[in-house]
Amino acid sequence: MEKFARLIDELGVPSSQEDQIQKVHAYLSHCDEESLNWSVHLLRGHPFKRLCSKKELVTLFINHIEFSEHIFEQCIDATGDILEAISLSYPKPGKAISIELAVILKEVELVRSNKEEIDHFIISSWQKLALTQRYYFNKIITSTFRSPVSSSVLCAALAQYLNQPLDATTYNFHYVQDKTPLRVSKLRSEIKDKHNVLPIPIIEPVENNLDLNSTTWENHFISYQWNGVRCQLLTHDNGHEIWSRRLELITDKFPEFNHISLPKNTILDGVIIAISNGKILPKSEVRKRIDRKRITKKDLEKLTMSFLAFDIMRSAGQDVTGLTLEERLVFLQNLFAEMSNTDRLQLAENLLDSEFLTIQEIWESAKTMNSRALIIKAKNDAYNTATHWIKYSAKAQTTCGVLLYARRGEGYRSNEFVELTLGARQGSNLIPFTKVIPNLEEEERLAIRAFIRENLIERFGPVYSVRASIIIKISFDGVEPSRRHKCGLKLKNPLFLSWEKDKSQEDVISLEELMNEIG
C-alpha cells in the first residue's frame, strides 16, 4: 500500500510520458505477484466494488473522533475533499505498518460479506495506515479511485516489465477482459501468438466544413457516415474477433456474426448498424447491445445487426494497408464476390458511382438514411498514411433554454457554478432537457453567480434551483431519444454559447419542437 500510494502521488505530478512509464515500470518490478495483479487492475481503471458509500464513511468517522462535527466541516473546507479530510484528521498511527496492497484488498473481500465487521475493519485499517495510504484506501473502498495513467502508459510499462514487444502486450491487455483482478502473467505473449492477427489503429476522419460544390469529386470515394459503431472485424486461425474503436473486445456481444464465412487472416474496417423494418436506427441501439451483460435470444430477434464494410487492411494474410484505396476496394469487392453467405456482411458502396446523384443530392439524401455526415476519401490514399478522410457534417443547430438548476463546483471551485441545467417549454411547464458547462467572461460569471444566489428557490446539496428567467443559447449536433432522461430525449454534444439578455421565456424552445428533430 505504501509503494502504491507513493506511485499514485508521484504520477499526480505533471511529467513526460517517458517519465510516467519509468515510474510505473519501477513500481511493477518491486511488487509481489498478488499486489501486481491488483495494481494493474486499479491502474487500468477497472472497477473495485464499493465496500461502503462516502456518506457511510463520514458517519463512521464522526462517531470515532474526539472533536466536534463543526471542526470536521472546517477540515473539509481546508482540504476541499471529504475523503482527504477524513484521512488526514483521523489520528495518525503511532508507528505506521506497511501492508501490501493485495493483503488489504483481500481483507476487504473477506469482510464484504459480513456487514457488522465492516466498521471495525475500516477503523482498524485507519489505525495502521499512514496518512496518504489511508487516503487511497478510502478512495478504493468507496469506489472513487481514478487511475492517473492512460492505458498506453500502462501497456508500455507492462511491456517493459514482461520483457516482450509493445504491440503484443497491448493486444493481450485489451484481450484479457477479466473483471476480477486480472493475472498479469496472462498478458504474456501466448495469446497473441495463438491468434497472430492484431487489430490496428484505424483512421479517424477529420471534420471539415468545405463547400461541396467548389471542387469535383471524381477521384474520391463518398459514403454516408453511417449511424453505427465503428469497429474492425478480424479473422485468425481460431475464429473471429470484433474490436471497437476504443479497442474493447466486443465479439461476444454480437453472436450474429459467429457464422460469417470470411477467409482467415483478414481485417475489415467498418461499422455495425442496427436495422429494424428496413430502417437504420440510431447508434445508441448498437451501444446498448454492447453494454448488455448477457445477450438473449430476444435481443437477437428484436434487431438485426449488420456489419457494413468499407475498407480492408488485411486480405487472407496479405497486408494491404500500403495500397491505395482504389486497389484495396478491388480486394474488398473480390472478397464479397467469393463469399457464400453475406447476410450479415454488407459492402458500402461509393455513392458517386450511381450516376444520377450529384454530391449535393447525396448530402440531401443522407438524412433519410439517418446519417448526419458524409465521409469523403481520396482514392489514391494508402491506409497506413492516409490523412485525408474528410468528415462533412451539418452545421450545429442552436436553440435557447431557460436556466432551472445550477450546480456548484467542488474544492477550489466551490464558489463557482460549473454546470447549468436548462429547461424547455411543455405547455405551461418547464422541463429540464440538457446540461451545459458555462463558458463566460469574468463579468458575466459574477453576474450569473449573484443572480443564482439572489433567486434561489431551493438547495439540493450542491445543486441550486433558481427562478426561471435567465435565457441561455446553446448549440447541439442532434437529438436522440432516451429513456434515461425525464424529457425523453438527449442532445448530442450540447455546448454553451451565450447568455441572451434580451430574450424572454417565449423564445425558449418547446419540447415538441425538439422531439421533431429526432431523426
Binding site: I65, S68, H70, C75, A78, T79, G80, L88, Y412
Partner: protein, 327 residues
C-alpha cells in the same frame, strides 16, 4: 488591572510598561524571535535572547537590545520576565511574565519537534497561556523528524542518480537551516543561495554547528551541481538565480503542503515540514502547561478555541488587528 492586555499594538504589560512582539513602534519591546512578523524596527529599546539579538541586528539593523539567556530572570518595575526555549527557529523563545503570584506565558511561535538546529521547546507551567495555532486543525499532523530526513535523503539520492541538482526551498531563517541539517550524513555538497548563506554565516559565528556549505551565487554556469543539495528561499525556483542551475528538481518544504490542493503546481516535490506545532502538539502543550486560561492567536483560532472549550478550558481567541479584548 490584568497583568497582560491585548491591544492593537501587541501584548501590553501595563505594570512594566512594555510590549511583547509589538506590531507598532513602542518604547520597550520584548521580542520572541527574529521573524519579521514578530520583530519590527523602530522601537525605543529591545529585550531578547542573545541569538535573536544577533539575528535582529543582521536582518533589521536593530542595535539597542539588552540580551538575556534562557531561564535568566530580569525585572521591569517589579514584574519578573524570563525567556524559555520555543524550538521554532534559532534563538526563539517563549516569554514568561510573573507578578504577585500570577504567571503568564506568551509562546510566540513554537514547534515540539526536535531538530538539529534549535534548542528544543521547554514546557513552562503557568496560569495564563497565550498560544499560537497556525495549524490548529486536526488535518495537520506532522511526520517525525527521522521520517522527514529519510524522505529528503531519498529524493536527493534519486536526483543524484539522474544527475540532477536538488533544489530544496524553505524560509531563509529557521526552515533553511533545519532542512540543511536534517540529513545527518550529507551525500553530496551543500550550497546556499545568498540570503541563506549570509544568515548561516551569522548563526555559525554565534556558535551553531552546520554541515560544510558554500555560497551559490547563480553566476557559476559551469559548476557541476548534479550531486548537490541547494538550499533556496521559497521563490528561488522561479527566480533568475535558478537559471544557471541546469537540470534540477525543485521541492518546497512547508506545513501547508499537507493538503492536496496546496500541492498543485509549483515545484516537483512537496515535503510537509513545518516550524509550528501540529494539532495534537498544540493540545498536548496546552495540557502540559497546566494553565486554565488559554488565549489562542494566529491561525484557525475559532476552531481551535472552540475545541479547547469543548475540552473544558477557559479558552479565548485573540486578534491584534481588531484591537479586541479576548472573547
Amino acid at each position: 488591572m490584568p497583568l497582560v492586555e491585548f491591544t492593537n499594538k501587541g501584548f501590553y504589560v501595563p505594570q512594566a510598561d512594555c510590549y511583547v512582539d509589538p506590531e507598532k513602534k513602542v518604547e520597550r519591546a520584548i521580542i520572541t524571535h527574529g521573524h519579521s512578523d514578530h520583530a519590527r524596527k523602530g522601537c525605543g529599546h529591545y529585550f531578547a535572547t542573545p541569538l535573536t539579538a544577533i539575528i535582529m541586528d543582521h536582518r533589521y539593523r536593530i542595535k539597542n537590545c539588552t540580551t538575556f539567556d534562557f531561564n535568566e530572570v530580569f525585572e521591569l518595575n517589579g514584574v519578573a520576565f524570563s525567556f524559555h526555549p520555543a524550538g521554532h527557529v534559532p534563538g526563539s523563545a517563549q516569554v514568561r511574565i510573573s507578578y504577585k503570584g500570577e504567571t503568564w506565558v506568551i509562546t510566540g511561535d513554537y514547534k515540539r519537534a526536535i531538530d538539529n538546529v534549535c534548542r528544543p521547546f521547554e514546557v513552562v507551567p503557568c496560569d495564563h497561556f497565550v498560544t499560537e495555532c497556525t495549524f490548529g486543525l486536526p488535518i495537520y499532523q506532522w511526520k517525525s523528524e527521522e521520517e522527514l530526513a529519510e524522505e529528503i535523503k531519498l529524493w536527493w539520492q534519486e536526483n543524484r542518480q539522474k544527475k540532477r541538482a536538488s533544489l530544496l526551498m524553505g524560509y531563509s531563517l529557521g526552515k533553511a537551516q533545519r532542512l540543511m541539517q536534517m540529513v545527518k550524513e550529507p551525500i553530496g555538497p551543500i550550497y546556499c543561495d545568498p540570503t541563506i548563506y549570509k544568515t548561516n554565516e551569522v548563526l555559525r559565528q554565534a556558535g551553531i554547528d552546520f554541515h560544510p556549505y558554500e555560497l551559490y551565487e547563480g553566476l557559476e554556469s559551469e559548476m557541476d551541481l548534479s550531486n548537490a543539495l541547494i538550499i533556496g528561499s521559497p521563490s528561488a525556483a522561479r527566480s533568475e538565480w535558478a537559471n544557471s542551475l541546469g537540470d534540477f528538481s525543485s521541492a518546497s518544504a512547508s506545513g501547508w503542503n499537507q493538503t492536496k490542493k496546496r500541492r498543485l503546481g509549483g515545484p516537483e516535490r512537496h515535503f510537509v515540514v513545518s516550524d509550528h506545532a501540529d494539532w495534537s502538539e498544540l493540545i498536548q502543550t496546552v495540557e502540559e502547561t497546566g494553565a486554565d486560561n488559554i488565549y489562542v492567536m494566529h491561525g484557525f483560532t475559532e476552531t481551535f478555541g472552540q475545541h479547547l472549550r469543548d475540552l473544558g478550558y477557559n479558552a479565548k481567541t485573540v486578534s491584534h488587528r481588531l484591537n479586541q479584548q479576548p472573547k
